[in-house]
C-alpha cells in the first residue's frame, strides 16, 4: 500500500515533507498514502497523466486542501508562493498590471502596511525581469495570455518566497515566453529557493529540471530526472486507472481507515 521514495520522508532538513499523505475529493483519494521529502534549494518537476493528482499535491502543500489522512509539513517560517493552474483571477476587474503584481507584496506588508519606495522598486524590478516594463498602467483585461502569465510570474518574484509552487505554468504560452519563464525558474534555483513545477512536456523536464516526481495517484518514482522519466516508469504511470470508480473498495492501511464507512468488505471482493 505504501510507496517509498528515494529520499527519506523523515529527513529532518526537508523543506516540504509529505508523511503518509492522502488527499482527495469526497471519499476518493487523488493522492494516496504518499511519503516524500523535498530538500531546500531543490528544483523538481512533477509529471504524470491527467488526473494523477499533480494539482492536488500542490494544493495540499499550500494548505488549500486539507488531507484525509497523513500530513504535509513545512518548517515554521518557510514562506510559500503559489501560481495555480486555474487562476480565479477576475480579468474584468478594473486593475492595472502594477496593481496585480503589487498583490505579491501581501506577505511582507499585509493588510495595512504601507508600500514603501523599496517595495515599489521591487515591483518595477519584477516587471522589468519578466519583460513587461512599460506595461505598468495597462488594464489587465487588455493583456494576452502570455503577457498575463508573465505578470503572474512577476507577482511570484515580488512575493520573494522560499518555496515556489507553479502548476502548469507553460500552458498556452509561446516558445519565447516559455524560454523566459524557464530562465526565471533557473534564477530562483540559483538563488537557493525550492521550486516545484507541474509540467507535461517531458523534453522540457529533462532539459531543465534536475529532479522529477512521477505521480499516478500514488508516487511512481522520485529522484534524478533521468532515472524517473524513463519509458518503463511512464508505462507504469499510464496504467493507472483515471476513471472515477464510484464503488472503489475502502482502503485500510496499517489498520487506519480513511473514508467514512467501516471497511467491512474485503478489498478484493468489493470491486
Amino acid at each position: 500500500m505504501h510507496d517509498h521514495c528515494d529520499i527519506s520522508p523523515t529527513a529532518t532538513d526537508a523543506v516540504i515533507r509529505m508523511a503518509d499523505l492522502t488527499v482527495g475529493y469526497g471519499s476518493h483519494p487523488a493522492i494516496h498514502h504518499m511519503n516524500c521529502a523535498l530538500q531546500p534549494g531543490s528544483l523538481t518537476a512533477i509529471v504524470g497523466p491527467n488526473g494523477s493528482g499533480k494539482s492536488t499535491l500542490i494544493k495540499s502543500i499550500t494548505g488549500l486542501l486539507k488531507p484525509m489522512s497523513g500530513r504535509c509539513l513545512r518548517p515554521k517560517g518557510v514562506s510559500l508562493a503559489y501560481l495555480p493552474q486555474q487562476s480565479e483571477l477576475d480579468r474584468s476587474f478594473p486593475a492595472r498590471v502594477i496593481d496585480l503584481v503589487s498583490l505579491g507584496l501581501w506577505p511582507r506588508r499585509g493588510l495595512l502596511g504601507r508600500h514603501t519606495a523599496q517595495d515599489k522598486a521591487a515591483v518595477a524590478g519584477a516587471l522589468e525581469a519578466v519583460g513587461l516594463a512599460g506595461f505598468e498602467k495597462r488594464p489587465i483585461d487588455s493583456l494576452s495570455g502570455g503577457q498575463l502569465q508573465r505578470a503572474l510570474f512577476a507577482r511570484v518574484l515580488v512575493q520573494d518566497a522560499d518555496v515556489i509552487l507553479l502548476d502548469e505554468p507553460f500552458n498556452a504560452v509561446d516558445a519565447k515566453t516559455i524560454g523566459d519563464l524557464l530562465a526565471l525558474i533557473a534564477r530562483w534555483h540559483a538563488e537557493g529557493r525550492t521550486v516545484v513545477t507541474v509540467a507535461h512536456d517531458l523534453d522540457l523536464v529533462r532539459a531543465h529540471f534536475p529532479q522529477a516526481m512521477l505521480l499516478a495517484r500514488r508516487l511512481i518514482a522520485f529522484g534524478p530526472t533521468a532515472q524517473v522519466v524513463t519509458p518503463e516508469n511512464m508505462r507504469r504511470a499510464r496504467q493507472f486507472q483515471e476513471a472515477w470508480d464510484e464503488s472503489a473498495p475502502w482502503c485500510s492501511a496499517d489498520g487506519k481507515l480513511h473514508g467514512h464507512a467501516p471497511a467491512l468488505v474485503p478489498a478484493d471482493k468489493a470491486a
Binding site: T62, L64, A81, L89, P94, L100, W106, P107, P139, R155
Partner: protein, 288 residues
Amino acid sequence: MADLLLAPFVEFAFMQRALLGALLLSLSACPVGVFLMLRRMSLTGDAMSHAILPGAAAGFLLYGLEIVPMTIGGLIAGALVAVGAGAVARLTVQKEDASMAAFYLISLAIGVVMVSLRGSSVDLMHVLFGTVLALNDAALVLIALVAGVTLAMLAVFWRALVAECLDPLFLRSVSRLGTPAHFIFLGLVVINLVAGFQALGTLLSVGLMVLPAAAARFWVNDVMGMSALAVAIGIVSSVSGLLLSYHASLPSGPAIILSAGVVYILSVLLGRRGVIATNLPRRKHRTA
C-alpha cells in the same frame, strides 16, 4: 435660478435635514455599491434590501414607526440572511446566488405577512419607500454613524476587499482574511441598507448603492476612481432628486433614485466605455 436651486435648502429645515441625510448616505453607500458591482453581487444588494423587511416590520409591529427598534430589527434580519446565505454558499456546493435568493424570498414573505397582520397599507408604503423629508434626529445620527463605520471599515479592509475581488485564490494562499473580509463586506451592505431605508425605504435604498456604481463603471477603470465618481454621482442625484421632489411634489425617495437612473442611462450611452464610444468604428489607430 438660485431661487430654484438654493431657496428650498436655505428656507426649510426639513430640506436641510433631507440633504444632509442623502449626502451622508451617498458618501457611504456608493463605495459599498462599487464593490457590490465588482463582486457581481448587485442583485444580492437588491435581495438584501428585501431581506431586512421582516426585521423592520417586527420593530414596527412592536413599537410603531420608531427608528431604533425598526433599525435593530432590520439589522438582525439582514445579518441572519447574509450569514445564512453566505454559510450555505461556502459550506455546500450551492452558489451564493441561489442560497441568497432562497433566504431573501423566505425573509420577504415573512415581512409582508407581518406588516399585513397589523397596520395599514400606508404604513407598508412607508416601510417600503421611506420619507427622506421627515428624517428626525435619531435617523440622522444613525445615518452618520453608519457612514462613519463604513468609511472606516473600507479604509482598513480596502486591500483585502480588492484582492478578494481580483484574485480570491491568491488571497487565500497568502492570508486568512478572505472569508472575514467577505462577511465584513456583507455586514457593510446590510448596515447601509438599514441606514437607507428610513430615508429611501427598503426597496429604494439599494438604488443609491447600485446605480451610481454601475454608472461610474462606464467612465473610469480603477477602483478608487470609480468609488469617488460613484459618490459624486450619488451626491448629484440626491440634490437633484430632492429639488425635483420639492418643485414637482414627487415622493422624495423615488425622485432621488430616478435622478441616479438618468445618470446611469446617460453613462451607458455616452460614457468612455459606453455603448456609443465602444461601437463607433475606430479607423484611427497607432502603429503598435
